[in-house]
Each structure stands twice: as C-alpha cells, then as structure tokens.
C-alpha cells in the first residue's frame, strides 16, 4: 500500500515536471517563432537615426510583417559585419549622401529588387533622378527611396517685399550683403543661422565643383566663402548665431513670434514634417532655392534621399522581400506629403509653401559627399584657425587622391 502511494507520488512529480518542461518548451518555441517572424533593422548615429523618423508608426503597422528597430552596441562593427556578409540584420536604412551608401553600391552588398514588381512600380512613381539613383549601373534596383531632405530659404513674402528682399537667383555673397544691410532692431526677426549655411556652402561646393581639380577661379571662390564662414561661423562666433537677433532662438516659437520671422535658412527634416509643419500651418511663408555660389552657375537643390537596402545575406530573405513588397505597394498608394514630394505630377496648389518645396525637390539632384575624414576634417581645421587656406586645400586634394586611389 505504502509502495503504491510512493509510486503515485513519483508519477505525480514526473507529471508536474513534464508539464513545466512542456510549458517552457512551448514558451521558447513561441519566442523563436516570434523571432523568426520579426525583421531586424539597425538604427544608430552612424546610420543617422533615420528609420524611426521616416517610418512613422502608420507605416510600420501597415504591413503584416513585424519590424523591430535594434540599436547596436557597436555601430561600426555592425556595419562592418553587415557588409562582410553577416545575417544579423535583414535590412537597413541609409541616406544617399553617406559614404556607406556608396560602399554598398560599389561592393554589391544589396539584394537586387528587380524581381519585386512592386519595387519597380514604386520607382515609376518617383522623379526620374530619384529613380536613377535607386538603380545601379547594371540595372539592379538596389534600394527603395522612403524619404527626402532638402535645404531652402524660407521667407515671409510680405515682409521681404517690405524690405525689398529678393532671393531669386542670388549668390551667397549677395545674400550676405542683403542681410548685413537690414535694420538691426526692426520689428521683424531675420534668422540666418550661419551653421546651416556653412554646411550648405561646403556641401554645395562639393556638389557643383568638387575639390579634385580646382581652377584658380574656383579656388578663389572657395577662399572667399571659407573666409566668410570663418568670420561668421556659429561654433566660433557665438554672438553671430542669429545675425540680426541678439536673442537665441527659443526651442518652441509661438505663433505670434513666428509671424515676425522675415526669413531663415531652413533644412527640411525628413519631408518637412517636423519644424516646417508650423510654417505650413501659419501660412504666409514661401520657400526658394538656396543661393548659388557663383553668378551664372545655377545649381539645382541638393536632395538627400533616405532609403532602405536589403541585406543579401538575411536569414529571413523571403520574409524581408514580402515586407518590401507590401511596403512598396503601400508607398505607391501613399497620399501623405512624405512620398508625394518624391513623386512626379503631384498637385500642391492648395498650399503655396508645399508647392514651392515640391518644385525644389522636383528640380533637385541627388548628391553624395566624401567621408568627413577626407574633406570635412580639413575644412573644420581651417575654420578653427588651425590651418592656412592653401594648406587646407592641398590636404583635401591629397586626401581625395588617396581615398580614390589607395
């Protein structure tokens, strides 16, 4: 009798243990299944934090496939691993001006989307130059454009008329002259953040002329702008941050104070859905192309495209392609401003500011920049007064030669 009880107890214990183990196994299986059904995308400073900016929740939830944004501990290692053929991440998001984007294209570290009909369909919706940027030389669709950035001059039409300001077709030199001549303590605030201008001038110089073979005229042009930047640049001339306003720009401008803004240099932050949104709402603002560098040399607006590129070594390639297919389908039908800016034949006539920005993007061009180490570091050394102009130029050209030929 006693033995029977012991056997029953043993049986009960074994049963309970088996159930617990089954429960654990079930949970682990569920977790694994969940992991298998979730795509991983890295996001960090190296990639520019663009994914969650562009991928607003509506886009993430619009597809059946779940996407998890992962912040890697070591971003450089992550990129290296990814491009060495690692399968940790299924896709990533980059911008066309990053050196990494050029490296991906050069090394062929992308999955060709030619066999995804929705991808080709989406590209047909976009401006020709964006479609061209998304297509490799061999005809491969190597990326899916998802967002666009452009810099421009934002201005109040009525105020500028009052002060006789006309930005159309002007050079940065003329722009600065006009700004300098404005009344210092007038009713209106003139925001001219030289920090933005500095970045734009150097990017524009790279976009139009490059630094490889500069003629004497281009050298002098760069010299004159670099001197201006050195004289007014933000980090080194704190007081001149807002040239005509002694106050620093408040983080959140009230509607009333925004109406006093005459103009400012603005960089749209992923489809102008953040800062510029207020300008759209308040009204009265217009946008025009950034000034040119030189009279007679018209430069289209430099457009930075944020895009998705698929890891060809992804373990979940099938699922990733399913996601891309759904995403492209969704983007093709997208009626929000984000995708419309990149699309051909859109009508923004109900909002004059959006219409202006749309025109700038339509007539823009995708540009790429050298890595910071090659050009930016030398420009910075000059601006900080650590290097003479001629030495800076010589160093930039030496770095470019080394970068290209090594």
């Amino acid at each position: 009798m006693k033995e029977k009880k012991v056997t029953q107890r043993k049986f009960a214990v074994i049963l309970v243990l088996s159930m617990v183990m089954m429960l654990f196994a079930g949970c682990a299986g569920e977790k694994k299944k969940k992991e298998e059904e979730t795509l991983l995308v890295p996001e960090d400073t190296l990639l520019g934090y663009t994914y969650s900016e562009v991928y607003t929740p509506y886009q993430l939830s619009s597809c059946d496939v779940k996407v998890e944004i992962v912040q890697p501990e070591d971003s450089e290692l992550m990129v290296t691993k990814l491009l060495a053929g690692d399968s940790d991440y299924d896709f990533m998001m980059l911008s066309t001006d990053s050196a990494l984007a050029a490296d991906i294209l050069r090394t062929g570290a992308y999955y060709s989307l030619n066999d995804v009909p929705e991808a080709a369909g989406l590209l047909d919706r976009y401006h020709d130059y964006i479609k061209e940027a998304a297509t490799a030389e061999n005809g491969d669709i190597w990326m899916i454009p998802c967002g666009v950035n452009v810099s421009f001059v934002l201005y109040r039409e009525d105020v500028c008329e009052e002060y006789g300001l006309d930005f159309d077709g002007m050079t940065y030199t003329e722009f600065l002259e006009q700004v300098e001549a404005l009344p210092k303590n007038g009713e209106h605030t003139f925001f001219t953040p030289y920090g933005l201008m500095t970045a734009d001038i150097t990017s524009k110089f790279e976009q139009v002329y490059g630094y490889e073979d500069m003629s004497q005229q281009e050298t002098e042009l760069l010299r004159s702008y670099m001197e201006k930047m050195r004289a007014y640049d933000v980090p080194f001339n704190e007081g001149k941050w807002w040239l005509l306003s002694s106050e620093k720009r408040p983080e959140h401008l009230s509607d009333a104070s925004m109406k006093n803004i005459a103009f400012e240099l603005e960089r749209s932050d992923n489809m102008s859905l953040s800062v510029s949104l207020d300008y759209f709402r308040i009204g009265g603002f217009r946008a025009t192309k950034l000034p040119d560098l030189e009279e007679g040399v018209v430069c289209p607006s430099g457009v930075r495209v944020d895009f998705i590129v698929i890891n060809p070594k992804s373990d979940k390639l099938e699922l990733t392609l399913q996601y891309v297919s759904q995403l492209c389908e969704k983007l093709q039908k997208d009626t929000t401003t984000a995708i419309r800016y990149m699309s051909r034949g859109e009508d923004f006539s109900n909002n004059v500011l959006r219409e202006d920005i749309y025109r700038l993007i339509s007539e823009g061009e995708v540009y790429s920049l050298y890595p910071y180490d090659v050009v930016g570091a030398e420009l910075m050394a000059y601006r900080e007064g650590k290097q003479e102009f001629d030495v800076m130029l010589e160093e930039i050209q030496r770095n470019i030669k080394m970068f290209q030929e090594e």
């Binding site: 290296t80 570290a109 090594e406």
Partner: protein, 261 residues
C-alpha cells in the same frame, strides 16, 4: 612513455583547438577573401587581387614606410633597450626599482601618451614623433626580456674573462653579446613584428585616416580598406604583410639557431 606522450597530446588539444579556431580558420578565411571577386558574388579570381594591390601606388608607399620603420626605429629600439638593460644591471639597492619605470609606458593608454606627445612636439607633422612613440611604448618589454637574459649570465664567466684581460666594452662584446644573442635576436624579431602593428599611435597622433605620406604604413592601408569595406584589397594586403613578417621571422629564427650553436 607512450602513455605520457598520449597525455601530453591530450592536454595540448584545448590550446590547439583555440589556435585553430581563433587564428588558423580566420587566416584561411582571409586567404579565401583574397581570392574572390567580392563576398557577395564569391567569384574566384585567382591572384588578381594580389596583382591589383601590389600595383597600387599607396600599397607600395605603405610597404616602403613600414620597411623604413624597421630599418630605422627597430635598431634604435633594440640598442637602447640593450644599453638600458646593461645600466639597470649595475643598479644597486633602490635604484633597481628604476626598471619598473620602463614598464609604465606599456600600462599607460596610448591615447593619454599621445596627448603629451602632441604637446611635446607641438603637433609636428614630421615622422619622428611617431617613431619615438613606437620606441617609448615598446622599450619596456624589450628591457624585461634582455634583463631576464642578463640575469641568467653567470658571474664566473665574467671573472674568468677579466682574468684573461677583458674589460669594459670588450667584455660585453666578447662575452655578454654572444651569450645573450638568442634573446637579442628574439627582441629584434619582437621589434620587427611590433613595427608592422604601428597604427594606433600614429592614428591618434595625426588624428586622421590620411596621415602625411611619410607616416602612411601598411596598417593605414588595411584600416582604410576595412572602412571602405573593400575586403579583397584588405585580405590581399594582410596576406602579403603576413608573408613578409613570416620571411623575416624564419630568417631570424635560422640566425638565432646558428648563434645558439
């Protein structure tokens, strides 16, 4: 005896497995990378990558600078370490503690040393600060090795030599040098191998991936290709560098054996 040998072999298995896993297999992988078009197409291209790398102007510049570092900084490093070890050998009492001071450069992070170096040399763009930094960082290890070799020398040998009339420089030339020659050759090899690894010091000193031409070494070439994700050039350069180091080491070991006999 057989059992003993078997035990020895069994005990060797973990370290051999580690060696295979962390050194041999990655190296084989590197060789594989150097023979394919890229890691995605994986098309075999034979020695094409090697030819391309060797024809590259900057690889040749890097190779020249690396060899120049061996020819100039390594002899200075070894001779200085040798002389300082001799000097430390003669130190008595608390002065013996001085040898600890030479170990400090190995412990101090290179980044901190570079800050001092930049101040000391006023950010000079010449090659000498980097050479001196290389000597400063590695001299401690060489002093330890040479001091250990000196400490094994027996006093009777010197006494006998002195009785035979050998003093001062002649004593070291005739007695010390031949006796410690295996260690000396070993330190030279260490110096050569370490000179191929000079990068961090130079990178931190110049603060860029594109240093002045005279300081552009093989490590820069490989590092830049690593960041450009050009693994084929990187792998080919790495294999060539390791072959050069291997040749130097083999020659060194042969010489070492010759001197030991």
């Amino acid at each position: 005896m057989k059992r003993y040998l078997l035990k020895c072999r069994l005990l060797l298995i973990p370290s051999l497995a580690g060696l295979a896993l962390f050194y041999v297999l990655p190296y084989v992988r590197v060789i594989y990378y150097s023979l394919i078009e890229n890691q995605f197409s994986r098309r075999f291209v034979g020695l094409q990558n090697y030819v391309k790398v060797f024809q590259n102007e900057y690889f040749r510049l890097a190779l020249k600078n690396s060899l120049l570092l061996i020819a100039t900084a390594v002899p200075v490093l070894v001779v200085t370490a040798f002389l300082l070890s001799l000097l430390l050998l003669k130190m008595k009492g608390y002065w013996k503690l001085l040898r600890i001071a030479f170990i400090f450069p190995m412990l101090v992070p290179t980044a901190s040393v570079v800050v001092v170096w930049r101040t000391l040399f006023d950010g000079s763009e010449s090659v000498w600060p980097v050479y001196l930094l290389f000597i400063y960082k590695n001299i401690g290890l060489l002093i330890i090795l040479l001091s250990a070799a000196f400490s094994t020398l027996e006093g009777e040998v010197y006494e006998a030599a002195r009785l035979d009339g050998a003093y001062g420089f002649a004593l070291h030339r005739k007695i010390t040098l031949p006796l410690i020659s295996p260690t000396l050759l070993f330190t030279i090899l260490i110096g050569v191998v370490y000179s191929f690894k000079v990068f961090r010091e130079s990178y931190l000193y110049f603060g860029t991936s594109y240093p002045p031409d005279h300081s552009y070494t093989l490590q820069y070439y490989m590092n830049n290709h690593f960041f450009k994700l050009n693994y084929q050039n990187l792998a080919s350069a790495a294999v060539m560098t390791s072959l050069i180091v291997a040749v130097i080491v083999v020659v060194g070991v042969r010489l070492q054996k010759k001197f030991t006999v």
